[in-house]
Symmetry: C2
Subunit: 404 residues, 2 copies
């Protein structure tokens, strides 16, 4: 399959990729587009001209209406778009609705319903365990039995490019130890961090009481986004016992502008590294798979880490089965994230906490945690079905000073 769109063939946004996003042109309302090469295709007028049943879903300011149509419509729309962009006879109809990405504004693609964050990397969980409990077991007893997760704040999920204001809050002074009870102070976080993650967006919901089996993953998940779970380690360390992270995370979570449909990742599925002990049956240990996605963490223009998603312990399918095993319902727009992606090598760690080993071993140009003005960009690529590689949406953010 070859696209007629100039510059797209052989690029990271070739015809086998086709991620969806929400864009606007000056003075116009946000609506749904699909990316091809360096262009975004305005789907709404083309769908209306071709009298597509579901043309109204492309006029919405989020992907939710499209996603809610379900798996069959999702695959039909993808086949239709593939035809539009590969068939030369469609060119006259389609070309007037292609806009350079550089000339449009990109928006948050999804109206997020509930946001769940997992902790699915064995290397990340082990590193964090070693940093915080140097004399104890690296992994807690439950970790190899279930994908540990928690709910985050859906209302502060923001689009790539949104500046991140350094959060204020309660924290113990760095190095505070010893005599007497701990006394927190109020101030700006001094241990601001990233977490390089992958996010999964739910298209088709479930009723309260239903469970999603591992095999039903693609019936419910529409696609994936790049995700940076910004974390204030000092606020988190003080607050998180016993109910988990709260204000140390809830100030911002950034996701990519582009949602890569699950179908574009068909060539990226791979074996899991291996699970021991064997998970309980509802976690589908015989069928659950990993994803071979390469991640790059860029700090101020320099790549400081290359986390491999294929090293993740828990499968995206297992996370979804676990999330719903208690009968919790899913809604269109639910987002669940993998947790920090870290590989076994030092250069594969997905957080500054790990890269600097708790702030004790500066990395890159002598860095530990984020400074004001820092720009962090996460990039993701995967094998495409066309034989080359495809890019997932990148996630970028600049740190702004705290507001006192």
């Amino acid at each position: 399959m070859t696209t007629w769109v100039e510059g797209a063939a052989g690029s990271l946004f070739d015809i086998d990729n086709l991620p969806y996003g929400v864009f606007s042109r000056p003075g116009e309302e946000p609506r749904v587009g699909v990316r091809i090469g360096d262009h975004v295709l305005d789907l709404s007028p083309v769908a209306a001209a071709e009298m597509l049943d579901v043309h109204h879903v492309f006029q919405e300011p989020s992907l939710n209406a499209l996603m809610a149509e379900g798996r069959q419509v999702r695959t039909s729309v993808r086949a239709w778009v593939t035809g539009l962009l590969s068939d030369e006879t469609e060119r006259d109809l389609v070309e007037p609705h292609l806009w350079p990405v550089a000339d449009v504004t990109l928006h948050l693609p999804v109206e997020v319903a509930d946001y769940v964050d997992f902790y699915a990397s064995l290397d990340h969980a082990s590193n964090v365990g070693r940093i915080f409990r140097p004399d104890g077991e690296a992994l807690l007893p439950n970790w190899r039995h279930l994908p540990v997760g928690y709910h985050g704040r859906a209302g502060t999920v923001v689009a790539s490019g949104t500046p991140v204001v350094r959060p204020m809050g309660q924290r113990l002074s760095t190095g505070s130890t010893g005599e007497g009870p701990p006394t927190p102070t109020y101030g700006a976080s001094v241990r601001l961090d990233i977490e390089a993650e992958l996010g999964f967006v739910v298209g088709t919901g479930t009723a309260l009481g239903d469970r999603v089996r591992v095999e039903e993953f693609a019936d419910h998940v529409f696609g994936v986004v790049g995700l940076n779970d910004w974390s204030a380690r000092d606020i988190q360390a003080w607050e998180y016992v016993p109910l988990g992270p709260f204000l140390g995370k809830s100030f911002a979570t950034s996701i990519s502008h582009w949602v890569t449909p699950i179908e574009a990742l068909e060539a990226a599925w791979c074996d899991l590294p291996g699970q021991d002990p064997r998970p309980l049956d509802y976690l589908g240990p015989d069928v659950a798979r990993g994803l071979d996605i390469a991640v790059e963490v860029e700090l101020d223009g320099e790549v400081v880490s290359r986390p491999p998603y294929r090293s993740m312990y828990w499968s995206p399918e297992q996370m979804l089965a676990h999330l719903t095993v208690n009968g919790a319902s899913l809604r269109t727009g639910d987002l669940y994230a993998s947790g920090t992606i870290s590989g076994p090598e030092p250069g594969q760690r997905g957080s500054f906490l790990e890269l600097s080993w708790g702030g004790k071993e500066p990395f890159g140009n002598g860095r530990t945690f984020l400074e004001d003005g820092d720009v962090v960009t996460l990039r993701y690529t995967a094998p495409g079905t066309g034989g080359g590689r495809i890019a997932l949406g990148e996630v970028s953010g600049v740190i702004e000073p705290a507001r006192d």
Copy 2:
């Protein structure tokens, strides 16, 4: 002020109460009503007849549009409704739109945006600490410095009356101890519990980066609901380290049909029991207040506990200030709950975990945790501005067997 509505004067739903809800009549769409005595007033036709600017907000299937109008509209609407129901000359206009509560269907009143659950009772936190860590400090070091909280699942907040299906999941067998690593099993929760709480519903949101001061509480909070945070203690105990409760809570959270506006609680504000050490300035230690609300926990028709909300350590205003101190934005429909309300006496405990002291000391008719078929109802009353008492919305639910 006296209402002309028969049976309402002197009742728990007198003219000084007037909670809002969403109701429907057979064959009609859900819309906004206000409760007076044993009736619900259909606000939409009356507002249209009187050409109220905001009459459209009453045609919505949730209170969100009304709540989003802000504090000034909220108080104007309340004054208008008070006039309608107290002024005899309005009777001919209004009376045709009064329906017996028993003849309408009541719905989830709020489209919940983000749901946060706090842990604001000193007695509850101390009891839980003593039950789970009998040899350690009852309270963790952070507890007296900040209102500990976490995000729950907004998509499984359900209306009072919705049956609660006993959740399946991973848990250690009761009494599992000792040799070798712990091994979980899959099955239905056998330690299903309630948490009697109060919920606060946000009307007016904030921008990302803003903080809400303690004094600004009533600019943002529209009203309160009764709330039961159903909890599967065995699932929770196994999963919650280190990221907090997840599937042990996310299967269902019930709220009352009625949202009591903050203005109806003017006579209920009271002093906090006292905070030591003095909280940091952003928690407004000199201005934060408590609420004198009495709670009853009824199990299968018998009152088993009477938790007093006035004994709560952290103020509703402090919880909101803390939630936003890191710049996390608020949205219309955000819901935050107090955490289990427990008083200092054994008969004032707001969970079965505490009432049965970890399952070791049966209470009532020899009960520990919830059995299939159990019906739990939480009832709330407070001093009204008219000199009597007002009822907040009650929360009820029946336990259905697990679905295997």
